[in-house]
């Protein structure tokens, strides 16, 4: 298994999918909604790209299909649910750390305002 760092940097869609699936198991549309909500509407995942990404991540073992099914009343056989694997979580964490260190660098150079220190 390749070290998570080898896969970095992740593309934006990849990162947001992993992020969304980090907290719960979602189907395709759920992922789109989660990404939208998390970024305040800035990131709009498109369906084609989304599934390309999901396929790729499935192939790499970061994401797998889950057997989760909602209430029968709301179920639709066509919707498949996904969840993140341990490897996926590791890759996401690695990317988040990379981004964090980048942000720290930008702050030290004055590109970003200092973080408010909370009491």
């Amino acid at each position: 298994m390749t070290a998570p760092r080898a896969w970095l940097p992740l593309s934006e869609p990849e990162f947001h999918v992993l992020l969304a699936l980090g907290s719960e198991e979602l189907h395709g549309y759920g992922i789109i909604l989660a990404a939208e909500a998390a970024t305040g509407g800035r990131v709009r995942l498109r369906t084609g790209t989304l599934y390309t990404v999901l396929r790729r991540m499935q192939a790499r073992g970061w994401v797998e299909e889950s057997e989760h099914r909602p209430e029968p009343a709301e179920d639709d056989a066509r919707r498949r649910y996904y969840r993140v694997t341990a490897e996926g979580r590791a890759v996401a964490r690695a990317e988040a750390q990379r981004l964090a260190s980048l942000a720290a660098l930008a702050r030290s150079r004055g590109l970003l305002p200092d973080l408010p220190t909370s009491g």
């Binding site: 189907h27 789109i32 009343a73 709301e74 639709d76 919707r79």
Partner: protein, 914 residues
């Protein structure tokens, strides 16, 4: 929300159409995705797409549309990206390079399919040629029928704004006098009406007279039609060369002028435009040629099919022509916005008012109908029948080909299964097979058009069939569009079953499965048997139709005509020789007939003014002393004849005597009537010696009763008929054409030359070329019926052959598949004969089922064509039984050959092939 599974997607109202479009678009962009993507996530992608667009819809329709478009674009783009057609960076230096695939697209796929189809055709040219021929027959039949039906029922008449033209007919029973009107009617309706932009008419009895053309060239007998001055204007026809009539030419004793018909102009003057302005001597009168009609307006074909018209001249609407009685066929052009119903009310009102003003006036009143329906109405049923039969034939051809392709499909099942295992999408495979069928159908369509052009040209050139507008039948742009539609439909119909069948294979495991006993094999066989049953059923429908029409036709030919048509010929005599007195005219004709009768080989000869099976007028007749109700006076068909006509026609004399030369102008007026007239006028009495009043004229004494003659048409019973001696009615025949009947046992060619010689001796200026055989006249009367019969019969025979081929092909195939089974049976002791019986028996069972279904369909259909049948019931058991028997016999023979082959195989051989 109830329900275990929400399959209905909880659509918002009104979203259905939009989602259909979305589905269409999705289907298209999905093709950009690589195969694994489609099979892995196709459905899911669609579901997600729906979710996204529905959410967007809550923000408004515009938002939904733009979101839908952007999503679909993204699907296409990311799909192409995965295929590697476009390289995009996906991050981290790991560029995702998919397999190098062609950028699929809808158009690319179809073009590929077409190329594939042509390759397949190239590999099996014999099969495809055969198949193209079969489709060609089906399509060609439909195109030909369309070309014939189109001028009559579909194409507008060759006039300006023909939908505003109406036929204004006098209204009562009894021949042409019944539908024609007086000149005064035309004059007064013109003046008083409110619904018509213009009214016109033509002289409907134009065939009673003719015009001798003398001058450069041989004397020729021409037929001219008198028309009102505005006739061409009302129809909206402009002369090709020259002009229409002017005022001076349209009054009584006006300046003689003629407008030539296009055919006559080409025939006699070779299309020379310089003929306009020249003078022709017609019946001794110099007549100026003032114009030529365009080729698009064929008067005879439109208004008097089966006759020939050479020119139009002016018919004055005057008091003089009014005296002639009901003579005009009236045509009107409605004002913009006026309707037929309105015009009818208008005519009724005018007639009532005119009747009030002059109670003694007779002949008022008319019925208004659309011109096109008037001309075509009589044949509507026949045309619809032809169209239906052609359609049925095409279905038979499609079923036949479907069957053949199903047989080939078995060989392709392997190919299809392999392609599916490699990820071929079933829809795409079906599409490819359908494209193949369509290509085949289009090739067949081209063959069909070629056939149709030939057939249509044959039909249009014949003058032997008196169906209106037949001469304008042609394969035009509309027919080609129709052909394209029919061909496409045929391709789809014939291709769908084999395509579904060939791609329906379950799995690769099926590849190894032997056909015998497998569900695939059995389902395929059942499908083919069902197609055979369909073919037989459809062929049965056509055969029953043919059978009924055939029986009607033979019944019509068997009808007791009342005269003897064989062995007689008819000459149209016309002399422009002037006579001072009527007696001179009679003497001239008497000597003429005597000269002809004296010829060696001539048995009898006689004269009449109205040849049989032509158009006739109606006169009023009353028995003396009988009081008739208003309008109840019977109508009679008169014939003005010499003393020999009745004998020459071999019309039996039932009572009394014939005319003699003593019944001349000085003798008391006499009359011969037919049996029907005797029954109607003098019921229960002996008519001989009684008196009848004709047309409010003098009284005539009845001196003889003859048998009924079918003078109007073979199907119609004769009405009241009477014969007048021409010596006593010579004013009625003045200037008229007389018909000479010559009965002889000589060969026609011999008779013609000797009679023509005799005629020329009597009057060198008399045209002698206008003759025909009496049985040809009878023939022409049944020509429309025969025409329809030939076409339907042809379709039925083709369908029968196709059905037989279908049975043979299915059986050959089934038998070859079952050889191992038969080998076992024979090894176990079953005789060859028993095997044959089994095979043939099953086929006959299928054929019987087909016949039963076909008969069930034919029952109600036959009722629809009741009006075309003659003395045959629509459910005539003899016809149904005969056609059923014919089909079963054909099925038997079609099955026998393969059955024989099956029973001939040796058991060892059979088991080995298994």
């Amino acid at each position: 929300m109830a329900g275990a599974r929400r399959e209905d997607d909880g659509r918002a109202p009104g979203a259905g159409r939009g989602e259909q479009w979305l589905a269409l678009l999705y289907g298209m962009v999905l093709r950009a995705q690589p195969l694994e993507a489609r099979s892995a996530h196709g459905d899911e992608l669609w579901r997600t797409l729906l979710d996204v667009t529905r959410a967007a819809r809550r923000r408004g329709r515009l938002a939904a549309v733009s979101v839908a478009l952007r999503e679909c674009a993204d699907i296409a783009w990311s799909g192409l990206a995965e295929r590697g057609a476009v390289r995009i960076r996906t991050g981290g230096g790991r560029v995702n390079r998919g397999r190098g695939g062609r950028v699929g697209g809808l158009m690319g796929g179809a073009a590929e399919d077409v190329r594939y189809a042509f390759r397949k055709i190239g590999r099996e040219p014999a099969f495809f040629a055969f198949a193209a021929l079969i489709i060609g027959l089906g399509v060609g039949a439909n195109t030909a029928v369309f070309s014939v039906v189109s001028p009559l029922l579909l194409r507008p008449l060759p006039f300006e704004q023909p939908e505003r033209l109406v036929w204004v007919a006098h209204a009562s029973e009894g021949g042409m006098s019944a539908v024609t009107s007086r000149s005064s009617n035309l004059r007064d309706y013109r003046a008083l009406n409110r619904s018509f932009e213009s009214l016109t008419g033509y002289f409907a009895f134009f065939e009673y007279g003719s015009y001798n053309l003398v001058g450069d060239g041989a004397p020729e007998r021409l037929i001219g039609v008198g028309v009102a001055g505005n006739f061409l204007d009302v129809l909206g026809v402009r002369p090709l060369v020259g002009r229409n009539f002017v005022e001076e030419e349209t009054v009584w004793n006006g300046r003689p002028a003629a407008i030539l018909t296009h055919d006559f102009w080409v025939r006699r003057f070779a299309g020379d435009a310089g003929v306009v302005g020249r003078f022709l001597t017609l019946n001794g009168t110099p007549t100026e040629v003032i114009g030529v009609l365009p080729a698009s307006f064929d008067f005879a074909s439109t208004f008097a099919p089966g006759s020939r018209v050479d020119f139009l001249n002016a018919f004055p609407i005057s008091g003089e022509t009014d005296q002639w009685g009901n003579t005009l066929a009236m045509i009107g052009r409605l004002r913009p916005g006026a309707t037929v119903a309105g015009a009818q009310a208008d005519i009724d009102a005018m007639s009532a008012r005119l009747a009030e003003e002059d109670p003694a006036r007779w002949g008022l009143g008319a019925i208004v109908t659309g011109l096109q329906s008037q001309l075509a109405g009589r044949f509507r049923t026949a045309m619809v029948l032809l169209a239906g039969a052609a359609g049925v034939l095409l279905l038979v051809a499609c079923a036949n080909l479907s069957n053949l392709m199903l047989a080939r499909g078995r060989r392709r099942a392997r190919e299809m299964a392999v392609r599916k295992a490699l990820g071929g999408n079933r829809r795409r495979l079906i599409r490819q097979l359908m494209v193949e069928s369509l290509v085949l159908a289009l090739i067949g369509g081209v063959v069909g058009v070629a056939l149709a052009v030939i057939v249509t040209r044959l039909i249009a050139s014949t003058t032997a069939v008196s169906i209106p507008l037949l001469s304008t039948a042609s394969v035009d742009a509309a027919a080609l569009v129709f052909t394209l539609a029919v061909t496409t439909a045929a391709g789809l119909i014939l291709g769908i079953i084999p395509a579904l069948q060939a791609t329906g294979g379950r799995s690769a495991a099926a590849l190894n499965d032997q056909s015998r006993g497998s569900t695939e094999g059995r389902r395929g066989a059942a499908l083919r048997e069902m197609l055979v049953v369909t073919e037989v059923a459809l062929a049965c429908v056509l055969l029953v139709g043919m059978g009924l029409l055939l029986r009607s036709f033979t019944r019509v030919l068997d009808v007791e005509l009342g005269f003897q048509p064989t062995g007689a010929m008819l000459w149209q005599l016309d002399t422009s020789r002037p006579f001072d007195t009527g007696a001179e005219r009679i003497a001239f004709f008497e000597s003429l007939v005597a000269r002809v009768e004296a010829l060696p080989g001539v048995e009898e000869a006689g004269l009449t003014d109205t040849p049989p099976l032509g158009r006739n007028r109606g006169w009023g007749i009353r028995a003396r002393g009988v009081v008739y109700e208003e309008g109840e006076a019977p109508s009679v068909f008169p014939r003005i004849v010499d003393s020999r006509y009745i004998r020459a026609m071999r019309i039996p004399l039932i009572a009394g005597r014939h005319f003699t030369t003593d019944d001349d102008g000085d003798a008391p007026p006499v009359l011969i009537i037919n049996q029907t007239a005797a029954r109607v006028l003098y019921p229960g009495q002996d008519p001989i010696g009684q008196f009848a009043i004709v047309n409010a004229d003098d009284e005539h004494e009845i001196i003889g009763v003859v048998a009924d003659v079918r003078h109007q048409s073979l199907e119609q019973e004769s009405g009241l008929e009477m014969y007048l001696s021409y010596a006593q009615a010579e004013t009625a025949i003045a200037g008229r054409t007389l018909s000479l009947v010559v009965r002889s046992r000589l060969a026609p060619a011999q008779l013609v030359s000797s009679v023509r010689g005799a005629l020329r001796e009597v009057d060198p200026a008399m045209p002698t070329a206008d003759f025909q055989r009496l049985d040809e006249i009878v023939d022409r009367a049944v020509s429309p019926r025969r025409f329809i019969l030939l076409l339907i019969g042809g379709f039925a025979m083709i369908a029968l052959v196709l059905a037989a081929l279908g049975i043979y092909a299915v059986l050959s195939f089934t038998v070859s598949q079952r050889i191992p089974e038969m080998g076992i049976r024979m090894a176990l002791g079953e005789s060859a004969g028993a095997i044959r019986r089994r095979v043939v028996g099953r086929t006959l069972a299928l054929a019987s089922l087909g016949v039963a279904i076909g008969a069930a369909i034919a029952f109600p259909v036959a009722r629809l064509i009741r009006s075309m049948l003659f003395q045959v019931g629509a459910t005539d058991p003899l016809t149904f039984a005969a056609m059923a028997a014919l089909l079963l016999v054909v099925a038997f023979f079609a099955a026998y050959l393969p059955a024989r082959r099956a029973s001939r195989t040796s058991p060892l051989e059979a088991l080995r092939t298994g």
